[in-house]
């Protein structure tokens, strides 16, 4: 694959952030042209001194009432006052990200307070990484967190991303699962409507590790998430799912690479994307099966539901396979609500809006149901219901 050389002349936005931005001339960015889309010169964010403001924002978190161990990052920096760090193994610094790509370069520039969390045994409470951004003037924020889960350990990891103002958030999370480790990860992207969210999730699985991953994408004007699952040990199993609930002129693009480097691993990806208004959803999935990764079982699917005529969905579900004894497949669909289904429900006396909401809820239900935490599931369902109420009229 060719990557066009970055243009020699930096735009004002690029100069402010300090790295060149990828453009549509680069294959991975053909539907999300950051160079053209990011015009605001975001200045590096200042530290937030106002603790009361932070506390107020924490209290407003939809997950605030759940019994979680909270670790708060404000403008990319660990906020020790509001975090529950007792008994947690925390060090500074983090290993390099697997892939050297434009968002990683950006993160290296923006994030200067990397943190590593080491988890061993079975955690007592789910770990909640709360990323908050407060921007009074357009600000760029980078966060870098590495979570290493020891052999045989189990962890519920919940991430939420929120903020106030016009900002560019560039969080990079890496997650290393030890042998036989089990991680349930859920990410809620609920950024400010004026925000740009450019995230990395870099996950590596050792032998027999099990990963369950879910991402809700509903905030930010512009969203790009680069996910990567690397199978480094045999017999590991990963299920990566996602839901988009987008409206207005939101733009969300997920690039998910599942890299089978070793034999006998199982991967499943399911993405359900709902786009209303003039929103645009993009899903670029790639399953790579290396020469030696025999007996790989990989399946990928992305489904889009377009609720308005201006909505748009682009998909590129790729397979790159070098081993012969594998079962791999992908499916992608795009369409509007099934008129027969609507007719069926309405003929049974269900009003139009309600019928529409039921069908959308059923559409995204498949991925919501995979979330293995009752409290979190309740929060997600309530969020979805609220979203549907405003988008089904």
């Amino acid at each position: 694959m060719t990557t066009a050389a970055p243009a020699a002349v930096l735009t004002p936005a690029e100069m402010a952030i300090g790295t060149p931005l990828p453009s549509r001339r680069q294959e991975d960015w053909k539907w999300t042209d950051l160079r053209r889309r990011i015009e605001t010169p975001y200045e590096r964010a200042a530290a937030v001194a106002d603790a009361a403001r932070v506390a107020k924002l924490i209290a407003a978190d939809p997950l605030a009432k759940l019994p979680l161990r909270r670790v708060v990052f404000v403008n990319g920096v660990l906020d020790r006052t509001h975090s529950d760090l007792a008994g947690l193994t925390l060090t500074t610094g983090a290993p390099d990200l697997t892939e050297d790509e434009p968002l990683a370069t950006m993160n290296a520039t923006l994030a200067d307070a990397a943190v590593t969390l080491a988890i061993s045994g079975a955690a007592d409470r789910p770990l909640h990484l709360m990323f908050l951004t407060l921007a009074d003037t357009p600000a760029a924020v980078g966060a870098r967190v590495h979570v290493s889960v020891a052999d045989g350990a189990a962890l519920h990891l919940i991430e939420s991303h929120r903020g106030v103002g016009q900002y560019l958030a560039n969080p990079a999370l890496s997650l290393a699962l030890g042998k036989g480790a089990a991680v349930n990860r859920a990410k809620l992207e609920l950024e400010d409507a004026a925000a740009t969210h450019l995230a990395i999730a870099d996950m590596t699985l050792a032998a027999h590790a099990v990963l369950r991953d879910f991402t809700l994408t509903s905030g930010a004007a512009l969203n790009r998430q680069n996910g990567r699952v690397t199978f480094a040990g045999e017999g590991a199993d990963a299920r990566v799912t996602g839901a988009y609930l987008l409206g207005g002129s939101q733009h969300a693009d997920t690039r998910l690479v599942v890299d089978h480097q070793v034999p006998r691993c199982v991967s499943r990806e399911v993405f359900k994307c709902v786009m209303d208004g003039a929103a645009r959803g993009v899903f670029q999935g790639k399953v790579i099966v290396a020469r030696d990764a025999q007996k790989t079982d990989g399946k990928q699917s992305s489904h889009a539901l377009l609720l308005s005529e201006q909505a748009e969905f682009d998909a590129k579900p790729e397979l790159e396979i070098y081993a012969d004894d594998v079962v791999c497949g992908h499916g992608a669909t795009s369409g509007d609500l099934d008129h027969d289904h609507m007719f069926y429900l309405m003929s049974r006396g269900i009003p139009h809006d309600e019928a529409k909401a039921m069908l959308i809820a059923a559409f995204v239900g498949e991925v919501f149901d995979g979330v293995d935490h009752e409290g979190l599931k309740g929060v997600l369902t309530a969020f979805a219901e609220n979203w549907l109420a405003t988008h089904t009229r």
Partner: protein, 502 residues
């Protein structure tokens, strides 16, 4: 019957793997080596072309000079030296033969050796005994007439059945003849689907194309027979740049077959063709290709670089274009037969079998561009990778804002034989309207041990078993081929996969 097939198959394999690897020594006329405006003027003058045609070529050449070779395909090869090629090579003394009698007997021998498809070759070799029963018709059917245009290196050598076609009003001739006899049609449609500056190889083709086939089917006419073209690269160090233009006027139907072979050579050969199809209101074009260019030897030496631009334009309502391709040859294939579904209710179809073995690299697929309302398309692609080959499906399905109720179904399946090959799928979906319904599914797998066991327990060898299972795998596409091609293609699949097991 089946036993005989098997014996024949094995014989074919034993003699030599690529049986079209011969060269024919006949006198040839070349343009000076390399590419320049002079060479283009030389080609144009050789063909007595009108001035506008020369300008058209020169415009393309100037565009080409500013373009860079595309590198996005998943293929790798050493850089091509475009100045070391001959851009024009023509058999001498064959300026417009009226019948086969005037053709160099050596050429006829060549056709006799071109075994694909056998029935066409028979008809081509024996125009005089048309109507006689072919020995291939064991079931007792009557021989179906097929009109053939043969392109030898750069020049169309012979076109058969012209008179019969003329009665129906169908024009089927070489593009040079069309330029002479039907300049208005050529001027109106040439480059209207694939413009001169469309891409690097299309621009090169537009500058130097020396011949190709031209078909015009008048309104409300069903072309009375299959039309067919053979392409053959013979001379050393020549590129072949033919250009095919097919126009189906309102309410007409035409089915067109294309076959290609090349001699075995150590150097690589370049084939950069352009095919343009235009279907007007209610017309249907069915375009079938069996591509069997020389694939290079087992270490990847030599072979044809097949860099082809094929595109059909369903220009008016209810038009239909269907591409069927069987790709077994070429060292590198870079080919995306596409449909622009411009008219309302237009339909595009793409059926493909791509088999790669040895060191072959295939990057092929299609584009279905939905512009009109209620347009529909269907893509069935079967890729089979064996040996050290790489086989990529790359396709685009897009529905524009105004393509209300566009509909697409895509299925691409890959089969891997051996653990040294690669199969890749790179589909692009772009839905810009909610009323578009797109479905895409793809699978990759190997031939299961159960299937092999079942077939081999019935007495078939491993190689025969693979050929049988693969034939089943590609059945959906085979059925789209004209009858004449089906049997041949099944054999070809067996031959292409030779050496892939064990």
């Amino acid at each position: 019957m089946a036993d005989q097939d098997t014996i024949d198959l094995v014989k074919d394999i034993d003699v030599d793997k690529y049986k079209y690897g011969f060269t024919t020594d006949i006198e040839q006329e070349f343009a000076p080596r390399g590419l320049s405006e002079e060479v283009i003027r030389f080609i144009s003058a050789k063909k007595n072309e009108p001035d506008w045609m020369l300008d058209w070529r020169l415009h393309a050449y100037r565009r080409w000079l500013d373009m860079v070779e595309p590198t996005w395909a998943k293929v790798s090869y050493p850089p091509i030296d475009f100045q070391s090629l001959y851009y024009y090579a023509a058999p001498k003394n064959v300026a417009g033969p009226k019948s086969l009698d005037e053709v160099d007997p050596k050429l006829l021998e060549t056709y006799a050796k071109l075994g694909i498809p056998l029935k066409e070759q028979e008809i081509l070799a024996g125009v005089r005994k048309q109507g006689e029963k072919s020995h291939l018709e064991e079931e007792g059917g009557t021989s179906m007439p097929v009109a053939v245009d043969a392109v030898f290196d750069s020049v169309s050598v012979v076109t058969t059945f012209k008179e019969e076609l003329k009665k129906a009003g169908v024009i089927f001739c070489s593009i040079s003849e069309a330029l002479r006899d039907h300049p208005d049609l050529v001027k109106k449609y040439l480059g209207s689907v694939v413009p001169q500056g469309d891409n690097f190889y299309a621009a090169l083709n537009a500058a130097v194309f020396s011949d190709g086939s031209f078909v015009y089917v008048p309104p409300n006419t069903r072309c009375p027979m299959e039309l067919s073209t053979y392409f053959r690269i013979n001379a050393k160090n020549t590129g072949q740049f033919e250009r095919t233009l097919i126009i189906a006027d309102k309410g007409s139907y035409v089915s067109y077959l294309e076959g290609c072979t090349a001699p075995t050579r150590e150097e690589t050969q370049l084939h950069a063709a352009v095919v343009e199809l235009i279907a007007l209101e209610g017309a249907e074009i069915k375009y079938s290709t069996v591509q069997n260019w020389y694939p290079g030897d087992k270490d990847g030496k030599g072979g044809v670089y097949n860099f082809v631009t094929k595109r059909g334009d369903c220009r008016e309502a209810h038009a239909k274009i269907s591409w069927t391709q069987v790709e077994t040859g070429s060292a590198i294939t870079w080919k995306y037969p596409s449909c622009i579904l411009r008219g309302d209710h237009a339909r595009g179809e793409f059926y493909s079998i791509a088999i790669s073995n040895g060191r072959q690299q295939v990057d092929s697929g299609t584009k279905m561009i939905h512009l009109g309302k209620h347009t529909s398309s269907r893509i069935i692609s079967k890729g089979i990778a064996a040996g050290h080959s790489d086989n990529t499906y790359r396709g685009l399905v897009s529905a524009h804002r105004k393509a209300l109720h566009a509909r697409n179904f895509t299925q691409c399946d890959s089969l891997l034989i051996g653990d040294k090959c690669g199969a890749h799928t790179v589909p692009y979906l772009e839905a810009k309207t909610s009323t578009a319904q797109f479905e895409h599914e793809a699978t990759t797998s190997k031939i299961s041990d159960d299937q092999m066991f079942y077939v081999m327990s019935r007495g078939l060898s491993e190689e025969e078993a693979v050929a049988l299972i693969v034939n089943g795998f590609v059945r959906d596409v085979l059925q789209q081929l004209p009858m004449e091609f089906m049997a041949e293609t099944q054999k070809l699949i067996g031959i292409s996969l030779e050496g892939s097991v064990g």
